[in-house]
């Protein structure tokens, strides 16, 4: 397989953009969180691509990726707990209805 590094990076960029679009566009808070997950994964893919191509001598990048995955998992757990808490208060998960930060 001789895919140059650039292909991987562009793939990651496209995935990142898709995730960003999802986070910016959708009404449902849970889909926003899914978009954020997509963004996370694309970034980690970026990381691992670099490992394979240039820095394969030490497993440091893989460790970085593991830690990043752990952090992402923790973040999504807390984020979803927050969504649930917010749901109980507002009785909906529509992001447009949560405007108490106004003013």
């Amino acid at each position: 397989m001789n895919i140059p590094l650039g292909h991987y990076l562009i793939l990651a960029a496209i995935l990142f953009a898709i995730g960003l679009a999802g986070a910016l566009t959708r009404k449902n808070a849970i889909i926003v969180l899914m978009g954020i997950e997509v963004m996370f994964n694309s970034a980690i893919l970026n990381l691992v691509a670099f490992w394979q191509y240039k820095y394969f001598a030490v497993p440091t990048a893989q460790l970085f990726a593991i830690f990043a995955i752990a952090v992402a998992a923790a973040e999504s757990a807390v984020g979803l707990a927050l969504v649930i808490a917010v749901y109980r208060h507002y009785k909906s998960v529509d992001v447009d209805e949560m405007k108490e930060l106004k003013g």
């Binding site: 397989m1 292909h7 394979q52 707990a81 909906s92």
Partner: protein, 169 residues
Amino acid sequence: MNLAFWIISAVTVLGALLAVSLRNLVHCVLALILFFIGIAAHYFLLRADFLGTVQILIYVGAVAVLILFAIMLTHNVTGTDGPREILGVKWWSGAVIAAALAILLKKAILSDPLAMVLPAGDKAQSSVAEIGRALVANWVVPLEAIAILLTAALIGAVVIALEEIQKSR
């Protein structure tokens, strides 16, 4: 072998697109799972097998299930997102921003000769033992920190979600 890359990439992008555009929430989650599996396949292709396994275990096995639970607990009864203003300002602005970002990133990537590097192939080996050793020897402090982080996230998530149950009684 190049073909493998293109196919897996296509699957991954498809998964991501469907995840952010479908109307039924559960369908979205399934698409997301497809996306995760695609990423895991990419990891295997990049010879980071341990990481691919971890990806499936954690993301598909835990995070996706978590999202499903969250969907269940915040039941919009029909499971749909409601009517969508496809051509509203909001949608267009989000799409434009994302597209612009993608184009700019592509330009940035292609302007650097680094993008032409070819893969290392067989020279890149990783063994679980090696990773394990590095984790415990050089990176033990981040390891501990991650442990604390996960504990804190666990407790935090439980506390946040739990309180409301008591309040609503």
